[in-house]
């Protein structure tokens, strides 16, 4: 089949041309290198919102008239039909407290990275449909993130395992139990020396108790814990610093100066939610009151943290160690010596040191999880030296002593090879896929005499185990998990397992321990005494946290044993990171996550080799051209994605792709870079890259929905804010719109609330939580890679990522001048090649709900009209799909259903990715996920952000029945509810005291493309940067 990108001949990466362009343009914001070079690729996306659509130009006039006539007649006939009588099936016994059509919320806990993230699950008529953060849970405080949202789709995934199988043949749970007991019976004599339980890291007290029970039966049995993306290095780091592994938590709400040493504070999934919230909570700008923290990011790969940072330094990941040592020496950590890498400006480091010193115990240094142990150990030593342990940093004893995953997996592999493993129980996880390449688990696993995999999907591990048992989703099972601070939450099921054979890990362990029990009994046995009976149990379930379970911070004394400095990698190096949307592969089969544009690259449905422009030029490759990456253990050929701001001579590789088994969605996209990891180098490794022939099409949305405007993003330094609090670009002739219409008076007369929204760019970290929450709330389909390449992704809110060449250290940047760059004699083009000077900026763009909406007058059937409350309404049942509205929308926020994405794939060539994902038989299960308050749109219908009108209506009806006005903050759209940065505020503009009105009164408030006089109801608050004055040149 013809591919959209076939039209363009491969264009070599011409950095000189781009440089020239950039210099003549000055420091404008740009979407990607294609925009800078004014490539045909970019103009295609600028000129036409939906390029690559089938054209009507081949149809002659007669045929067109024939078709038009026939359609008109058929459309008329389609109205003539007898609607079938539908059936209603009432309950036999109605469940108490469950009202038809009403939502119920239950607190439960989601596992991620071994910890538990507290959620509130919304259930409608017994069917969980949406997850929100639990305000009472310490890691959430009510916010959530994209991974939490995506769990809904995992629950209803049609590819989930449904039956027990033996050697791929359908079997039963009873047969499995007989076989398992028989296998265990042989183990009594040797005290279970042949028993291995392989799980992921967990903090579940009941799980630990159950493993303990198993080990009581079989004292020689071993519990192996392995994670593809682990905290092994962090644990090793605390061991180096304090002699024992400890959990570290950072309280950013108390931190004035934050230094990230290759740490991604905001991109770590649910574990980042609290960090983000605390961080943005310290970015207060109210009129003249400016209270901002300062974030320095030293990073070996572009991350959200670097994008948000006030100062960013791009270095090679292997240089971070030397840099940390240099920092430690300067901050008075004894026993460390170092040479500063040449790439780091000494002046920069000295200013940073002084800033950290000044902040003292209100400073914090945070090492990256994937960095080597010495970086962790030294960071802890620095924090101790600064005195910040106790304020911004606290250490806690882990509930379970962590094991080094890669090492214990290697030991397991040796045992398998030696035939010492008789019974291997793999409870969750996917170790065969996640294992380092030099641990040949795939070859060795069949050597276990009895092997069993408990899992949700038919993945790589499942294929190699004799027995396969379907695992329950966390919304179907009882369990318990600890938050990062030790607080326990109890997981309660919201729905019976969709497949009756499904079991949870603790239930399987109870079988092994010889006392089979149900999940609830097991969890109650752990907690009933602690909570003090049924009443306490009920209240713990209701609140979502068990009282008095938070572990106390322990005092630490430094016992630093730093190994010799890492020898620097001279050539190319690669860094392996969890993918920003599918993580280590656990969301591979999740269409929402596959299609969620990765925050910095906007790439969907694939991973790639991320390189800096200079490295790409050196290798002679451009986007989509292939390179071979070779490490000591393997080689993978994959396409390149050039990333401005990426450090040179480093390739960032995301894990989780290139699956060979997992389901219809996950098999196909991307490349398995995990095959390049060895047990000793799980995150950073030396590598060789060479150009390979051929191209691999990637689907990046970074140029999609490009807006042509002069004043899209507003940002500036604190100094610039003091000079012009509106942060207007210099040279901008702001148009004041005068009107005879007295809006305030009209609003007051109508007595209706006037809805509006603000998005604070200073609090947005680009994490994608809003996009995923909107998808879950509003029944938004995934469309598949090919459709994304055609620009047909359906997200109602998108996050635009802009690049800009800036140097926060230059005073001329203080008031950004975008129109008179020539006067400055600027050399921004040259700076493009300095990765530290390329900054990334995020801007979430939903429908603006313009008061003079350009989409409305062009609709021939009045399917989009204005409400009296200021909403730009889209009426699906009126829409005939002319797409005029979308053509006329300057913000490009309208989405069109080119196909019946939600009703099976008959008319789609490659729906949902590579294979026929939404087959007709999958539709009934996928329907369960839909929000009953939102219409499921059909083919040929336009749609867009509604400000979550279903939530507005629900609250309005509720308030009316109580005979009161809607309170401020009572209506929270899905995006605002999920946002960990609390960047989105929604409310009534007619009420001058509402939070949104107050934010709109801020000088930083500006409307996107306001010069078009669209009078958008959604406005933005400009972003402020708080650079260190010492680093600002005069």
């Amino acid at each position: 089949m013809r591919h959209p990108s076939d039209d363009q001949a491969a264009q070599p990466l011409d950095l000189d041309a781009i440089r020239e362009k950039l210099e003549s343009k000055g420091g404008d914001y740009w979407r990607g290198l294609a925009q800078l070079s004014d490539s045909p690729e970019y103009s295609k996306w600028l000129e036409d919102e939906f390029p690559d659509r089938a054209s009507l130009k081949d149809v002659d006039r007669r045929t067109f008239l024939k078709l038009a006539g026939a359609s008109a007649v058929l459309a008329g006939l389609a109205g003539c039909r007898n609607l079938p009588t539908e059936k209603l099936v009432p309950y036999v016994k109605a469940p108490e407290d469950r009202l038809p059509g009403a939502s119920q919320y239950f607190a439960t806990v989601m596992p991620f990275g071994g910890f538990g993230f507290g959620v509130l699950a919304r259930s409608v008529e017994g069917r969980p449909i949406k997850l929100e953060g639990n305000p009472d849970h310490p890691d959430s405080l009510g916010s959530s993130d994209a991974f939490v949202q995506a769990e809904m789709l995992n629950l209803y995934d049609p590819d989930r395992l449904a039956v027990v199988t033996k050697d791929g043949q359908v079997s039963t749970l009873d047969e499995m139990l007989v076989a398992l007991r028989a296998a265990l019976a042989t183990q009594g004599a040797n005290r279970g020396a042949g028993v291995r339980i392989l799980t992921e890291t967990t903090s579940s007290p009941t799980m630990a108790r159950m493993v303990g029970a198993v080990q009581k039966q079989f004292p020689a049995a071993q519990w192996v814990r392995f994670d593809s993306v682990s905290r092994d290095q962090a644990d090793e780091g605390t061991r180096l610093a304090f002699g024992e592994p400890l959990n570290v938590s950072y309280d950013l709400s108390k931190a004035d100066v934050i230094l990230s040493l290759d740490a991604d504070l905001f991109g770590g999934g649910p574990l980042s939610v609290r960090m983000t919230r605390d961080f943005t909570g310290r970015r207060t700008v109210k009129g003249t009151k400016v209270d901002l923290n300062r974030l320095y990011a030293i990073e070996g790969t572009p991350t959200l943290t670097g994008a948000v940072a006030d100062h960013r330094l791009a270095v090679k990941p292997s240089e971070v160690d030397a840099l940390t040592r240099a920092l430690a020496t300067r901050l008075g950590v004894p026993g460390v010596s170092s040479n500063l890498p040449a790439s780091v400006p000494a002046k920069w480091l000295d200013a940073l040191v002084r800033d950290l010193r000044r902040a003292g115990n209100r400073a914090v240094v945070i090492p990256g999880t994937h960095q080597i142990p010495s970086v962790h150990a030294l960071a802890h030593a620095i924090n101790l030296a600064l005195g910040s342990v106790g304020t911004t940093v606290s250490f806690r004893k882990p509930a379970l002593t962590p094991a080094n995953g890669a090492a214990s997996l290697s030991a397991l592999a040796k045992d398998l090879e030696a035939g010492r493993v008789d019974v291997l129980l793999v409870l969750g996880g996917n170790p065969v896929y996640g294992a380092p390449a030099d641990v040949k688990l795939a070859d060795l696993l069949p050597k276990a005499k009895f092997s069993l995999k408990l899992g949700m999907f038919d993945d790589e591990t499942n294929r190699l185990c004799r027995w396969s048992v379907p695992e329950t989703h966390f919304l179907e099972a009882w369990g318990d998990l600890r938050a990062t601070d030790g607080t326990v939450s109890i997981a309660q099921p919201l729905i019976l397992p969709l497949y009756s054979g499904a079991r949870s890990a603790i239930e399987m362990l109870s079988v092994v321990a010889g006392a089979e029990a149900e999940g609830m009994a097991l969890v109650q046995a752990t907690w009933m005494a602690h909570v003090g009976g049924q009443k306490g149990w009920d209240s713990a379930l209701n609140k979502g946290v068990v009282p008095n379970t938070r572990s106390a911070a322990v005092p630490v004394t430094l016992n630093l044993q730093v190994p010799a400095p890492m020898s620097p990698v001279s050539g190319m190096e690669v860094v392996f990171l969890p993918d920003p949307t599918i993580w280590d592969g656990r969301y591979s089969n999740n269409g929402w996550m596959q299609e969620l544009p990765k925050p910095l690259t906007k790439l969907t449905w694939d991973n790639a080799v991320h390189l800096s422009p200079r490295t790409a030029e050196k290798l002679g490759v451009n986007d989509e051209e292939q390179v071979e990456v070779r490490t000591t253990v393997g080689a993978v050929t994959a396409p390149v994605f050039v990333m401005p701001g990426h450090p040179d001579d480093v390739a960032t590789l995301h894990l989780g792709y290139g699956r060979t088994a997992c389901g219809k969605v996950g098999v196909g996209p991307g490349f398995n870079f995990g095959a390049l990891r060895s047990a000793g180098a799980m995150s950073i490794s030396a590598a060789e890259l060479r150009k390979m022939p051929g191209k691999y099409p990637l689907a990046s949305a970074q140029l999609h929905h490009s807006m042509e405007g002069r004043d899209i993003l507003r940002e500036g330094t604190v100094a610039a804010y003091r000079e012009d609090p509106k942060l207007r670009p210099k040279g901008l002739h702001e148009i004041e719109h005068a009107s005879l219409y007295n809006q305030t008076e009209e609003w007051a007369k109508s007595g209706l609330p006037q809805w509006g929204m603000t998005i604070d760019l200073d609090k947005c970290v680009g994490c994608n939580a809003c996009v995923a929450a909107c998808q879950s709330e509003n029944n938004i389909p995934s469309v598949g890679k090919l459709e994304v390449q055609r620009g047909r992704e359906m997200h109602w809110i998108r996050i635009d990522r802009y690049y800009r060449v800036t140097d926060a250290g230059k005073s001329r940047d203080v008031t950004q001048d975008r129109y008179h760059a020539d006067d400055l004699g600027d050399k921004r083009g040259a700076d493009l090649l300095d990765p530290s000077k390329v900054t990334s900026h995020f801007q979430p763009v939903p429908c603006m709900h313009c008061e003079t909406a350009p989409c409305e007058p062009v609709c021939p059937v009045a399917a989009t009209v204005h409400s009296h409350e200021g909403l730009n309404q889209m009426v699906y049942n009126r829409c005939v799909g002319t797409r005029y509205c979308s053509n006329n929308c300057p913000y490009k926020v309208r989405r069109f259903n080119f196909f019946n994405y939600q009703h099976g794939g008959k008319n789609l060539d490659r729906p949902y990715g590579n294979q026929n994902y939404v087959g007709e038989k999958d539709v009934p299960l996928l329907r369960l996920i839909n929000n009953p308050d939102v219409t499921v749109r059909s083919r040929g219908v336009m749609e867009k952000c509604t400000y979550c009108v279903q939530r507005i209506n629900t609250v309005r009806i509720h308030a009316k029945k109580e005979g009161r006005d809607i309170e401020d903050g009572e209506i929270v759209p899905a995006c605002a509810q999920a946002c960990p940065g609390q960047a989105i505020t929604f409310g009534n503009l007619a009420d001058k005291n509402s939070r949104v009105s107050q934010l709109k009164a801020e000088p930083r408030n500006y409307g996107l493309l306001a010069e078009l006089n669209t009078v958008p109801r959604t406005t933005y608050l400009g972003r402020l940067r708080n650079p260190n004055p010492e680093l600002v040149e005069a």
């Binding site: 016994k93 009209v865 309404q873 308050d933 209506n953």
Partner: protein, 254 residues
Amino acid sequence: MAQIFKPSANSAAKASLLALGLAPWVLFYAGSTITRSSSNTKVDVPLNQPVPFSHKHHVEELGIDCRYCHTAVEKTRSAGIPATETCMSCHSQIWTNSPILEPVRKSYESGLPITWVNGDVGWNQVNKAPEFVYFDHSIHIDRGVSCNTCHGPVQQMHITWKGKYFSMAWCLECHREPEKFLYEDAEKPQEPRQKVFDLYRKVQNGDKLTPRERAVVNDEAYKPSAEELEEGKKLVEAYQVKKQQLTDCWTCHR
């Protein structure tokens, strides 16, 4: 050559010209009549059910409140269909051997939904708003809209039928001019919600009804007088019904 057409053909030709001119109108009229006829709309057509439940018997003769069975009507968007358990709360005591209640008893014993004699599951849905309409029972009750206003004379139905054709034009009659439909018992001012159910109590007690109440209960056309319209306008104000909101698309479609 003989004349092909007789002189009368002139008249026939004229008549056919006229017929041709009238044909579109006739066709249009016929079409719209058929569309509006109860064979298409199913209005006033009683639907068979697995158990021949009589609203007339339970509501008018026995005086059971609507909310005894339709429990959620004041609370959520859906009024709710009673569970088997609800039927059995009385029918475990009375009519315990009635053959027409056999499916109910069977359902209660087996824990499975009520079935037809042939084993089919489910009751025929009588009233259904289109799926792109998000109707909410609770707010309508709360603003004093009686059940019969939309569902017809339920208390007269031995076998339930659809009382009204839920067309958008019909909804808009009230959403555009709520003052025509809102009223209050002048002798007994009360909360609009209470008024709704008080009306049925009056019907059950055989109390004297005002002409307006009679029209509501019996589903008859009623043209409010000028004073009543004035009173309606006051009620619109008092109930905080925002007329502009009522005709915003997203009030019902989203």
